[in-house]
Symmetry: D2
Subunit: 413 residues, 4 copies
């Protein structure tokens, strides 16, 4: 299950390499069941709705992750495989132009049929075919990386299911509850921020696909050298209490704190607090997957855009870390906390290819490379990230105005 419902594990993925991996079939079964479990508390209606163009219906996530295995593994490699429904090829393609036509993203919520039940049958059909294929094929080793890509892909969608669900429920005036309130058990951030000092110099970041057999997405490669000046990085994330001080100091009404595009956004969308915060008679609440809760002042601030993270940092006399600074500090086993399992952390780095990055051939190559424009990198992972999906080289990315992910702030200077 996701971090959302259990104590934070702050262990770095760096240490995991030594742990023996279960078989690919077992990994597949376990992960697919986790996805089902996420949707288990939800009704057909809950799984149908698309609350904005950025988000997708839960039903679509359930189907699309299944489509990925069907399209990239079963259809090309499993000779005896019969497609569950040929119409799904278009219906559940997300953005792979190489695969052919795709249903328009903003209209995903309009597709009432297939029903949730039928999508579950589709999952079962593909699950059975995949397990048979993995058990019998002689190509298993060759396809290992493709299956692993599918699993990691589904893990990403597990997180998106939670972020999209949260947004959808927040549109309902009655503020519905997804899960019974379970304490998030975030590491409390009551202590003052301490700063780690790093000397920088010529450091290495990125994934080394030749030396490191662990899975990584293509955009994490290649490992490469970056020259860093000496810098300091905060040992913990910015708390709600600290962010409230920014608000109280007029943070949302001082143009000098904001990037020009950010300031336009503040005024156009009338931002005055993080997404999901609400103030009533001086008391702040936050909409969560457990319903509306009193704002926990010691929790790390969540659901802020890059623009807000950047403006907060400027107000605090600091700045956001670059991707390389963040990755180097965490890799160096520095004294940092909350780097995984709490909040994604906006960096000052645009999402572009690492030096020497090349796109894989074929439709799978559309996975990451074609989005390298007008987005910023987030590092770490959040309480909604799938278990075991946290590593220092991971590169999450969103447009600077997006707020519906579990995104927070770590400072540097």
């Amino acid at each position: 299950m996701h971090q959302l419902t259990k104590p934070e594990s702050s262990v770095s993925s760096v240490d995991r390499n030594a742990i023996a991996q279960p078989s690919l079939s077992d990994q597949f079964s376990r992960l697919r069941a986790q996805t089902d479990a996420l949707a288990a508390p939800l009704s057909p209606e809950d799984c149908q709705v698309q609350s904005m163009a950025d988000a997708s219906p839960i039903k679509w996530h359930l189907a699309h992750t299944t489509w990925f295995f069907e399209t990239f593994i079963l259809e090309p490699y499993a000779d005896s495989y019969r497609a569950f429904d040929p119409a799904f090829k278009v219906l559940f393609n997300s953005y792979y132009n190489g695969i052919g036509e795709k249903h328009p993203r903003p209209e995903r919520g309009l597709i009432s049929r297939p029903s949730l039940d039928r999508v579950r049958q589709y999952r079962a059909h593909v699950n059975a075919a995949m397990l048979e294929f993995l058990a019998t094929t002689s190509q298993a080793a060759a396809l290992h990386s493709l299956v692993t890509l599918g699993l990691n892909h589904e893990q990403q969608h597990q997180e998106l299911m939670l972020t999209d669900l949260k947004h959808m429920l927040s549109m309902n005036p009655s503020a519905p509850v997804y899960l019974e309130a379970v304490a998030e058990n975030m590491v409390a951030t009551k202590s003052a921020t301490a700063w780690s000092s790093l000397t920088g110099g010529l450091v290495e970041i990125g994934h080394d696909a030749e030396q490191n057999q662990q899975f990584a997405f293509d955009n994490e490669s290649p490992r490469h050298q970056v020259f860093l000046r000496p810098y300091q990085i905060a040992n913990r994330l910015v708390s709600n209490r600290e962010y409230l001080a920014f608000i109280a100091d007029g943070g949302y009404s001082r143009h000098d704190l904001w990037l020009s595009d950010g300031w336009d956004r503040v005024r156009f969308d009338r931002w005055c607090a993080p997404m999901y915060w609400r103030e009533e008679r001086g008391a702040w609440t936050e909409f969560t997957l457990y319903g509306t809760q009193a704002l926990d002042l010691d929790a790390p601030v969540c659901h802020v855009s890059f623009f807000e993270a950047d403006a907060y940092a400027r107000w605090a006399g600091a700045r956001l870390p670059t991707e390389a600074e963040w990755e180097h500090a965490v890799s160096a086993a520095d004294a940092l906390t909350q780097y995984f399992g709490s909040r994604w952390q906006w960096t000052a780095s645009a999402y572009l290819g690492h030096p020497g990055f090349t796109v894989a051939a074929g439709a799978v190559g559309e996975y990451n490379g074609k989005f390298m424009c007008n987005q910023f990198v987030l590092k770490g992972s959040s309480s909604a990230t799938a278990e075991g999906h946290s590593r220092v080289t991971y590169r999450n990315f969103f447009q600077p105005e997006k707020r519906w992910q579990f995104s927070g702030i770590r400072l540097a200077r």
Copy 2:
């Protein structure tokens, strides 16, 4: 049930006044059950989706029609009534500003909770309370007109359920089926159009609330005199075959046939045929509630906008009838056919108040009057109109670019 599933009854409502009416309770029960029957073949997912801002989810229709009885009858008049859920007051208000806040119309499809099941419980709760109220109250007579308004209101929504459902299903690339294909049994329109000649003069139209005890909406009153010049009116509706000739003659590419706003719309939305028509390799099909069907050339053309009706008429060397011409011809028991139960018929008349029209006091007064702007009157009724909901004074109205209603064309000259 609706005309959609049974042979057309072309009997005029004029003759129905003589038939003994069932009791109000029986009318209520029967009509509410009809609404449920319309939704019976649909899944929770089908009932959740809102496919455009003009349309509403089926679940919303089921709840809103119930809200109407709760808000305008049970809450003000039934002392012991307990609201099913206070949140529904806002959630299922359509446009009655006088009632208070309302949930934004384009966001109706985002509300996954209450579920369809819970909305059905809401219906049952209000049904029971209404029947008890009608059986026991001494005010029954006084409230008769209000209850009847609620029933007629629900009949209107029965038709909207079908039009909105059709639009929603049409957005699905797999063209789903709502009902098993049952022949619509439309009166065939193979014969040439015949023209009825009327002398006009000073005629009366509209509903006379004092003399006529039958229900009518406020906008049908008062009955008033209109001066008509001599005119001719077609005895049947324009057929698909005739409309195809218009298309073949370049109807959608000749600016001189169109109103200026209509021509803009043709080019902007790239109209080239009625909504739901599709051409593949020279063969025309039409999406219907029975799935995609070969175009029936003898059926009356359907799902055309006022702009298209007006352009067709100009091309045919004719014009659309005015509301008064239509109403007078049908009332005069002229030789017309297909005036009820086939297609709504666009008129050349803007939807404005009849001379002397006044709006009722209170929120119920918002029913019709406040929409008297930039809409055109449609007369008659369609195959989707609720049984017994056809009368000559009825005034349907839509903006001139709307096409998702069952709207067709009758010519005049």
Copy 3:
């Protein structure tokens, strides 16, 4: 010159038929010079700007009115005529699809060349050609109605030049002055409103093209019978003082006073007063062609939309007159004042063809008919209307949300 700069003449056009008309050449020269006089105080920059899509640059008005004579008279009928510049054919076509391509309306302000000077040369070129043609052609009589149409067309543009200029200047924070302040000499409206009572019945309105040799646009015909119920009509227009009482009574915040579309507009555009009004510390001013002026409480309210006129009437316990009521009352030589030369008066009538209306063949037929959709009729004329351009059958028309014309309110009940 226009009414704007001289005392109101409230004489009805009805009486003018007896006055001897000057020759067509003299009319032409005089009217073309009036247009030039309107633009005389303006710089090339003033004449270049298009301040919104509804408005056109003054330079464009100067050229388009010239294009009209060139296109509809000189090119088809004057054998020896040489076009001034062939490119102008597209550049200065307004909306005549029958003539061919036209330059997009919202981009009229982007055309810096031809310069204002060159457009003046174009005017002189066409003036000379027209005068020679009128002096020498044997077809003069036959073309009389076409030339007269061109003159009336130019008179309409004279008014639009003033309304468009006013809007453009109002966009300038320094509130520039077009003319030195000359009192508008409006009939003061200090007295209480008196109501004229008319018995109605079967009356005639519209222009009788066979009996009446005076010029009228095609949309004013044919003369036809309308049945009117007894009604009362106000003898004067609503004053600024009265309109302020509506504002003070919360007129812009009471939904029950507004049509649904109007209420949406009030909230979306944040209307809280007529266009060009501004309140500073309790004092109201109005931007005028003489610059910013203190609001004259006794002047008729101006620059209100149909929605505002309709809401005001509802607030005042009255309604707007229909077109037929207005025309009949003024024709009947009733005790009305301010029907011409003050403010255009919104009616409750949609702009549709009079019964029996037919469109002229050819591009000239695009003049009026194709706009008969989603507009309301205004009657009378305004202080910006060209001299001699006021008559009871005249039908002005604009969309219900438009406010940049000199439009006001007369009540009926």
Copy 4:
């Protein structure tokens, strides 16, 4: 004068440091006169128009560059200075929130007054005051950097005047001419592309404000180390002939060549060639400031967006250089040509602050820093760039979809 009208000078700015600089007053007078010369061939109408929100009217450029000297130098430092017109403070502020209110950018073209003549008087007024101030003040040395900033600011606007003018004239169907056709004398690019190989390693880029007394904008600092892998860079720009091959090979219809956002733009805006290119019956022309010209196949391609440059590079089996690669290669006196005075060259680098970049205090600090989001860096300079305004550390920046600048393509791999 600008490169546009004289032979390209490909001398690197690196060599210019040795040339003796004229006095600040002389520099000021010469540069201000250059700006006037650019506008000299233009009419008041030409100078009035704003053809899109990205562009500004020439009149506005003339006034805003003057406002800069008035606001940042004369008002704060010249005691006896009297503002030419206080209203200009708001009217001609571009984006300096720190200065106060500003007139909305998309409405700059609506301001017909002040006239062009009056703006020229404004320029003369400020010129005289500046020259007197520079001649007499004891603070001249202290203000040297601020005056120099103003001069460099005006040089940037000189280029924008040409790009904005070109766009405006291109909107005119008659394709007007700004200057008489003078050959651009571009270095012909007939030879095959040669590649320079660089070894990379730890290199230095950026401006060293302490060591280098030459003017540079704040965003060019600080000088800092970057680690580069070995790379190759093309010795010349991509030619029109080469770009035509990309088009002929379906470059605009192959999704796999494009970034996702770029592909959306291609389809939405229907791009099929660089801006200002037109094809008629197989012959390509290009709109230029000399009017429409046959496409010069040997000239470097111009007016392409980042998206097009990136897609072209992918098609050619190459990539765009990073900013550091470009700057290092040119600084290393490599065998490159066409780096200055031809086309701005898109890089693969997002426009972000150099490591250690800090924003200046006060409104001047708004000059560059607040735009560091969603833009890409362009290096070099173009044929429209002001004389002497080319240096290796210069950082131009635009959004990836912008095409109206003189932007071209240099490849790397």
